[in-house]
């Protein structure tokens, strides 16, 4: 019985040892497959380049690097009104809307800071929601057509 099994094993071994015919071009194909760039690599690089370009554009922000003539200025508006309960800054820069630029007080000195693009703006202070006051520290608007005082501020764009 054991002899019969040995015979079977011997035949299997011989079958496995028998040379197998392989395509001669197989080696070349294998090497080509190994050295070729992976599909994922081909897709990633353009995206990385685009992301780097976008990052550079966002960092440098060329659209915000206008000439001096377009550069905004930061202005502080101040009014001394010790007895006021509220003061708003209203003008051409906030659609004359008292809610847009409420001023903060410290010991009766009301102040706010506004960023303005170059231009000439009319403005006034609205005290307690009813009383109009011009800025004592700024030029007065000549053309006061509505019967209440207004002031003028000019933001230049050339070395201002």
């Amino acid at each position: 019985m054991f002899e019969q099994e040995d015979d079977i094993v011997e035949r299997v071994i011989q079958q496995l040892r028998r040379p197998v015919a392989i395509d001669p071009a197989m080696d070349a194909r294998v090497m080509q497959a190994i050295t070729a760039p992976r599909p994922s690599q081909r897709r990633v690089w353009p995206w990385l380049a685009a992301a780097a370009l976008l990052g550079a554009v966002m960092f440098w922000r060329p659209w915000s690097r206008g000439s001096d003539a377009e550069r905004p200025d930061i202005l502080q508006f101040v009014l001394v009104a010790p007895h006021a309960n509220s003061v708003s800054l209203v003008g051409d820069f906030n659609d004359w809307d008292p809610k847009r630029s409420p001023m903060r007080t410290a010991n009766g000195i009301w102040a706010t800071v506004v960023q303005l693009a170059p231009g000439r703006y009319r403005y006034a202070f609205l005290v307690n929601g009813v009383e109009w006051r011009a800025d004592p520290g700024a030029p007065t608007a000549l053309d006061d057509e509505f019967g209440t005082p207004s002031s003028v501020v000019t933001v230049g764009g050339k070395g201002s």
Binding site: A69, D73, I74, L75, Q76, F77, V78, V90, D92, D95, W96, D97, P98, V113, P118, G119, R120, R122, W132, D135, G137, A138, P139, T140, A141, L142, D143, E145, F146, G147, T148, S150, S151, V152, V153, T154, G156, G157, K158, G159, S160
Partner: protein, 197 residues
């Protein structure tokens, strides 16, 4: 009929929503002026702001319409003096200078942008300086002065007037003293911090 309705709807849709603060009649008249200005290439924003100023100050409708119409006319006059290439801020400053009494020849000063030069002229007149003196000062200083120099010049003249100097004399004295050279020599942009009007 349908076309007319569509045109009216389109016109209502094109109206600036900020003008809703005006009563309907005033809003309609202001919109006509604003649209006319737009059609001839004049800036619409100053007209809208003037209307909003009137609304916030509680001015009657006819007064608001008159103010907006007058400003539109003056913007056209300023553009005729400054040229078609003038920017909206320059036109607004030009209106202020014209209303202050400046002649159109002042607008020919060679110093773009003209916004600050024309504004300083108008501001000096508002401080009591005669229009011809203010114009002469601006014509003398503007070609070589920076905007900051012109603002400082205006402040200095206003200070002198507040201390009792006659406005015309204060202006000419500061011009002759070469104030701009002094400001330019000592001026340094420095760190960015809020400045006062």
């Amino acid at each position: 009929m349908i076309l007319a309705v569509l045109l009216i709807v389109a016109q209502i849709g094109a109206q600036d929503p900020r003008l809703d603060r005006l009563d309907p009649d005033t809003r309609a008249q202001v919109t006509v002026v604003v649209d006319s200005a737009r059609r001839v290439g004049l800036p619409a924003e100053p007209l809208i702001q003037r209307a909003l100023e009137g609304a916030t100050k509680g001015a009657p409708g006819p007064r608001i319409v008159t103010a907006v119409r007058r400003l539109s006319t003056d913007l056209g006059t300023a553009r005729a003096a400054l040229g078609d290439e003038a920017s909206a801020p320059e036109l607004e400053a030009g209106v202020a200078a014209l209303r202050a009494g400046a002649t159109p020849q002042v607008h020919g000063v060679r110093r773009p942008p003209l916004t600050m030069a024309l504004s300083v002229l108008a501001d000096l007149v508002a401080s009591g300086v005669p229009a011809d003196s203010a114009a002469a000062a601006v014509l003398a200083l503007a070609p070589k002065a920076r905007d900051a120099d012109l603002v400082e010049f205006r402040r200095t003249v206003e200070r002198d007037i507040a201390l009792g100097a006659p406005p015309a004399a204060a202006t000419s004295t500061r011009v002759n003293a070469g104030a701009v050279d002094i400001y330019s020599a000592g001026s340094n942009p420095g760190p960015a911090r809020p400045r006062r009007p």
